[in-house]
Amino acid sequence: MSDAKPSTVTLTIDGREVTVPRGTTLLKAAEALGTRVPHYCYHDGLSSPAMCRLCLVEVEGAPKPMPSCVTAAQDGQVVLTDEGRAREMREGVLEFYLVNHPLDCPICDQSGECKLQDYVHAEGRAHGRSREPKRVFGRDDFGGDVLFYGDRCVMCTRCVRFMNEVERDPRLTVVERGNRSVIDTFFDEGLDGTKWSGNIVDICPVGALVSKDFLFKQRAWDLDHTPSVCTGCSQGCNIALHTRDNLVQRVKPRTNLDVNAFWMCDHGRHDYEWMNQGERLEAPLAGRGSERIALGWQEALTRLAARLDEADGTSVRAVASPRSSNEDLAALRAMVDALGGGTIEFRLPMAADEDVLEGMPTLARRRELAPNHRGAELLGMKRVGDDSGAGGLDEAGAHEGILIVLGDALADQDTDFGAAADLFVMLGTHDAVAAANADFLLPISMHAEQEGTFTNRDGRIQRFWPGLQPPGAARPAWLILRALASHRGEATLPGTAAEAFAAVAEESGAFGDLDYPTVGTRGAVVPERAALAGD
């Protein structure tokens, strides 16, 4: 085996030595050193045509500059990415990119997150030398959510390759040649009916492809980015919430090679307005009907604890929601168990069929239209109701004893829901018709307003972070339920979501011995032992 090639190569990039696996491209090797070689056409999730000519680097001994996105690193190579010829070449290439670019940054949505802007600002010429009139294409509505500004395009063909290689619906192509070339579909065909085409807006390095939904809505530099998890289905695609003014302005996929890679479906992408919904519950309410009054948390919890003590011994029943976090559901489980144990049900809307992206088994819009049904199942909760997410609550609605509803909006239930209950506690984000009989109506925050975790369909626990401020006195459900438990002297109050998550391990072990640092930003799969115990 002495003549076998070693599996790594060592080379020098910009005077620094780096060791990378054999076959790594120069671009990736430079990235390992923290050097970002400018590029347009290269994308981690697509093939490399090496056509943008921006990632050219100087390799010692090579007669010509090499495109770093397709050149494999060799042992002993000496590469210069950022000085002398490489920089000169980039300056030249960038000048050509600007020959026909309209430079309409002030009205361009991409401004602030535009690669052309960044690169030219960093290394381009201060003044253009072109005296020719610019060619003009205007804009073209591609259908769906995609709007195309032909003049801004740098012809990297990422979008064409995305449609060919990832969505596998090759509708986009380069039409014409030379400086008349432009991205287009087959005449008026457009992108209507595609389910993933929103991704081409993300991968467009410039403002050529923009989202109609986001058009002229916000400037990119005003947005805060919060890592989160898509709640559209049980796949749990990693996303970033882009927020401003305490509103979610748009949703972008977040790279996670174990789940959604670089992409997300159009459905999840456009399903965010509900997070901005107004008329939220802002203070704890107590009392039924006309007796209902708003209280502070201290008073509300004291009264509720007293009522629970009174009702101690009666049977408990709870309705949960697969849209609640693991921490919330576990706190509910702990509360129900402390009250003597009882059934916890949840309702789950199901789509008729799932859309799996061909070749990407972990990227799909799944049938289960909620992010955390798996977590609820692991905590021993049972699904009731039909595929529209309605019905199945007849027994719960007529329950005599303690009835707790967490997260479920009870949209299909009537005013007599919970009328027979000794104590009806509802934790929700909104008031509802069916909440008329609630003795306590407690405002909770939703996932975009709190830290927590979801368990996706494959048992992968994924964290999300708060991007919005909860309204008024709304608090995470786990905090309310755990505070109630500590009020009753049952347990210590966890101060953070991490501690609330850790409490689950002690109580039921439903999530094995995972903790927040282990889950990290990429998620971790629930150990099989725990998953079996949960079933």
């Binding site: 090759p170 986009l172 192509t173 380069v174 039409v175 040649r177 579909t185 087959f186 065909e189």
Partner: protein, 217 residues
């Protein structure tokens, strides 16, 4: 070529020095009507036909053209590779590649229609719009340009009464600019349908047009 009405008989290689006919230069077999079904499969893809009579609604493909299409397919590993000659064949039959033709070819070859559009628009020798009976391609590249291509171009436009890229009112002539026709030794070079007209100067243009109108190619 004493019988020629002008000094450019319309075949490559005539310098005017010798009194030789095209048959004598190229050989009997090469000249004249070539088989519509393409002859041997090896050449089926490369016969450059441009017919004066075009049928924009002609079926893709029937009769001898179907035979030629089948021959083309046998010469390529997949349908994607056969796209260029098949588009050429479609243009031969229909005269130009309309969006409908692109779609028909895409379905015929089982390719994405957007891809077929991209290929068709990339190559300038596919006509994207209907052209006249005679497509006059005047070379204006360097050699021809130095020898008066602009005047030749102007003469063609003047005598056909069209704009560049447009078709004359009688539907006979479309005049376009061509980049190098590889006839740099015989400037100005003009390609009219499938034939080359060499050493053309502006004074030849009326005679060429008259000849075309009377005798066809």
């Amino acid at each position: 070529m004493s019988d020629a009405p002008f000094r450019n008989p319309g075949w490559a290689g005539n310098t005017g020095e010798f009194d030789l006919s095209e048959e004598q230069v190229r050989g009997e077999d090469f000249v004249g009507a070539r088989p519509l079904e393409g002859g041997h499969a090896a050449g089926a893809a490369s016969y450059p036909y441009m017919l004066a009579d075009k049928e924009p609604e002609a079926p893709l493909f029937e009769g001898p053209y179907r035979a030629r299409y089948e021959k083309i397919l046998t010469r390529y590993p997949n349908t994607r590779a056969a796209l260029l000659p098949v588009l050429g064949l479609a243009q031969e039959v229909r005269g130009h590649i309309s969006p409908e033709t692109m779609d028909a070819v895409a379905r015929l070859l089982d390719l994405p229609d957007a891809y077929v559009r991209g290929v068709t628009t990339f190559y300038t020798m596919y006509n994207k719009r209907p052209v006249g009976r005679f497509l006059i391609q005047v070379c204006t590249n360097i050699s021809c340009n130095l020898c008066g291509a602009d005047e030749v171009m102007g003469a063609f436009l003047e005598h056909t009464g069209t704009e560049m890229g447009e078709t004359s009112e009688d539907g006979d002539f479309t005049v376009v600019e061509a980049e190098c026709l590889a006839g740099c030794g015989f400037p100005t070079c003009v390609q009219i349908n499938s034939r080359y007209y060499e050493n053309v100067d502006a004074g030849d243009v009326p005679k060429i047009l008259e000849h075309l109108k009377i005798q066809g190619e």
